[in-house]
Amino acid sequence: MSEAQSPAFRRAVVALNGGSSDSRIVRLVAGEARQAKAEVVAVHVLEIDWTLPLDADIAGNSDEVQRVLDSAEAIAEAYKVQLQPVLLQARDVGAAIVDEAVERGADLLVVGLTYRKRFGGEFAIGRTIPYILQNAPCAVWVVRDPIS
């Protein structure tokens, strides 16, 4: 069985970007975590550009940023799975997610892949997902948005 097919994991880090794919990937991971009795860590990274200090309180003042993690927590509760929400401010999203996965000893990292419908439609793979795929210390699930 390949790494990606195996549902068994002990600790999964789920990267949330505040988009439509968040609820889908949290449901997916919570469902699997419930069976595997695994821990789930939801990470939302707020990218801080170089014009601001890294410790500027951007996330703390935003309801919307908090809501991303709170929604994930609510979904996990519905699945009766303990989800630990983590809010980070970082210069680079991909590096922050990988660092968090390393620090937490995660054996699974889950990211969502957004589908943009404009201009005929394409997957917005960006820089973050390739970085995670190359640097993650564990299995990575990339969960794409539905194309339709």
């Binding site: 703390g60 309801d63 809501r67 993690l69 609510a74 929400p85």
Partner: protein, 679 residues
């Protein structure tokens, strides 16, 4: 990043928070202990989204919704036999005819209620039907009657269930009240835990009772037809005052007593939305099956009882009619007999549970419509309407105690409410069909009109023959309940009108002046804290000392002028030693002295309050504070502010004092005069 809200709240939208269960966690040790007990008894708290709504197939809906009606066959035969027994053996020969008359009534009521199922697929309780078609007053009459009906179902079914038990084990007769109360307490706890009536487990007692009762009827009828029925076990009797003549009144009394068999027939019409689609047809068909089964059991029991010459137990502790039949057909002490009695007791408890579901729901609907206090519509920790459940249990328990756990004494209160509901529901349906444009509305209206007329006649019969036996209580209670509900509705309507904003009204910043009065009893940290709060509200702050001791007054004034020189102290001497009266009068005088050309100011009465650390300390402190608060509550233009002082705060206080002594700027002195203004 820190997420300080995270333990207690969840952001669910812009500017919108949802509280988590942690916000309800008790903070004191005693509170935590109580919480553990509460959790043990009632289970963990459920969130609103955890509510489960289910659709029932007919095979589950039949036992769940029919338990109330079918279980009536456990006590209705006794009522006919006891009434007829007063007329002697000749009167008892009419028991089958009376049972047949009741079965005909059952058929008519069922046919009428089938129409309700079709017309009100969202649930056609008597209240909803009467309110919509006959208006508010008739709706409330139906609601009052229904509430009495539910309370009586709990009381009667519980006492009857206990009677089934002491028919097998007579030794428990002396404990019947305690057992009844304990049973209600258990069912109450179960319902406060959110016990649902739709679980598979609830189908078992009904099917068990149906199976054993049908077996009993089958065997009994077969033996009666072949002449093999044994003679009945003769229950203990009390000497009768003398046989009554066989009159129409006696027969009507027996009919009225037996009409309790019809109670609970309406339950299916109330619960149409719980059926699987097509809801109305499934509910109507289930109702027909229920009526056929109830009719077979009821007439069958009476036929066997008549064939074997069964005598009712008129003395306390005697076996019920169904127990006597079970003894005769299955054999005394046989496993089938014991199983029959257990199943009868269980189905009766299931009927109790039906009321525990229906009463709080009706009370919640009435509360939603503004006819009952709002707390009846609040759901408890387990999503149950806790207030309704507790009230129902309390009233039913009281009835069991007052009527000494005797089913026969409770029955006269029972049927009146039921037939009021039947009649109003049927008359409401006639009105519904008249105004409707549905095909077949004429014959449907005719069916309901016949049902309404007959149930009204039965209602009159029941009221007249049972009036002295206790029906008068219901006749008095229903109008009282209606009056009470109308009063509550008027109160809510008035307060809503008074609190409403004018359409399009835009609220601007207030321009009224504010002043602060701090009642004090001396110079203390609690008082200083209250003064500081007062300073944050307005510059116009004054302390008021009401005292009956001139020496104490002088000491306080000296201490005050030393510690808080910038806040004026007004001393009100009270030679009659009262505290509240002089203070309120002082506030009145302040109001009278306000220039009449200016808007009246808002007076903040800032009350220093010492927070006790232990429950027993509450008796030692704040008694006069509470008295003052009560006296000021509702005073115009007055805001009462409590400033609690906790004993844990001295460190904070010291720090503040140090800051102060190191030269933090003091607020500007208050302008008002310390003398009492003249009115």
């Amino acid at each position: 990043m820190e997420r300080p809200h995270s333990p207690y709240f969840r952001y669910t939208g812009p500017g919108q928070l949802t509280a988590k269960e942690a916000t309800l966690a008790p903070k004191s040790g005693g509170g935590r202990a109580l919480e553990r007990i509460r959790r043990f008894l009632f289970g963990r708290r459920l969130a609103s989204e955890e509510e489960v709504t289910e659709r029932l197939p007919k095979k589950l809906a039949l036992p769940i919704f029919s338990s109330d009606a079918i279980s009536s066959s456990a006590y209705a035969p006794d009522e006919i036999l006891i009434a007829l027994f007063a007329g002697g053996a000749i009167a008892l020969q009419y028991s089958v005819e009376i049972a047949l008359a009741i079965a005909v009534m059952l058929a008519i009521v069922t046919t009428s209620y089938r129409q309700v199922c079709r017309a009100y697929p969202s649930g056609g309780g008597a209240y909803a039907v009467a309110k919509e078609n006959l208006g508010q007053i008739f709706g409330l009459i139906a609601a009052g009657a229904l509430m009495i009906d539910y309370v009586m179902t709990v009381a009667v079914s519980t006492t009857s269930a206990v009677a089934q038990a002491y028919s097998v084990w007579p030794v428990i007769y002396d404990w019947r009240i305690e057992i009844g109360i304990a049973s209600i307490a258990l069912i109450t706890i179960g319902n406060l835990r959110g016990l649902r009536e739709s679980g598979n487990i609830f189908a078992l007692p009904t099917y068990l009772f149906l199976g054993l009762s049908l077996l009993l009827v089958g065997l009994g009828v077969a033996r009666a037809l072949t002449g093999q029925l044994p003679s009945p076990p003769v229950p203990p009797q009390v000497p009768l005052p003398g046989a009554e003549a066989l009159t129409l009144f006696l027969l009507l009394r027996a009919f009225a007593g037996g009409s309790v068999a019809l109670t609970g027939v309406e339950a299916i019409a109330n619960g149409v939305p719980a059926f699987k689609p097509p809801e109305a047809r499934n509910a109507a068909n289930t109702m027909t099956i229920m009526a056929i089964l109830l009719g077979i059991l009821f007439v069958g029991f009476m036929f066997i009882a008549d064939s074997m010459g069964l005598r009712p137990a008129t003395a306390g502790g005697g076996p019920t009619a169904i127990a006597q039949l079970g003894t005769a057909i299955f054999g005394d002490g046989s496993p089938l007999f014991v199983a029959l009695q257990v199943a009868t007791a269980l189905i009766l408890f299931l009927a109790v549970n039906t009321s525990f579901n229906a009463f709080p729901r009706l009370a919640a609907i009435l509360a939603g419509d503004g006819y009952m206090p709002r707390q009846f519509s609040f759901r408890g920790d387990r999503l149950a309407f806790s207030y309704g459940i507790v009230i129902l249990a309390a009233v039913a328990g009281l009835l069991i105690v007052v009527f000494q756990g005797d089913t026969h004494l409770l029955i006269p209160l029972y049927s009146v409410g039921v037939f009021v509901c039947f009649t109003l529901s049927q008359v409401g349906m006639v009105r519904h069909w008249i105004t409707s444009r549905e095909p077949g509305r004429r014959w449907r209206a005719a069916v309901n009109a016949i049902g309404g007329l007959l149930t009204f006649v039965v209602l009159m019969v029941v009221v007249s023959v049972k009036f002295e036996g206790g029906a008068w209580l219901v006749v008095v209670l229903v109008p009282l309940l209606v009056a009470l509900m109308l009063f509550i509705h008027r109160q809510y309507a008035t307060s809503r009108r008074e609190l409403a904003l004018r359409p399009g009204q835009i609220i601007t910043r207030p321009h009224r002046e504010e002043r602060v009065v701090v009642p004090i009893n001396g110079v203390s940290r609690a008082v200083v804290q209250a003064i500081n709060v007062g300073r944050s509200i307005s510059d116009d702050v004054r302390a008021v000392l009401v005292s009956d001791d001139p020496n104490e007054t002088a000491e306080v004034r000296a201490a005050w002028e030393r510690a808080i020189p910038d806040v004026p102290l007004v001393v009100v001497e009270s030679p009659y030693r009262a505290l509240t009266g002089p203070l309120v009068a002082y506030l009145d005088v302040l109001d009278w002295a306000w220039p009449p050309d200016k808007d009246a100011p808002i007076t903040f009465v800032v009350i220093p309050e010492y927070v006790p650390r232990h429950w027993w300390e509450r008796m030692l402190y704040n008694q006069s504070t509470n008295q003052l608060r009560r006296a000021l509550l509702g005073r115009p233009n007055t805001v009462i502010t409590n400033v609690p002082y906790r004993r844990e705060e001295p460190a904070m206080f010291e720090a503040a004092s140090d800051d102060h002594s190191r030269g933090r700027p003091m607020p500007p002195p208050s302008p008002p005069s310390t003398t009492l203004p003249r009115p």
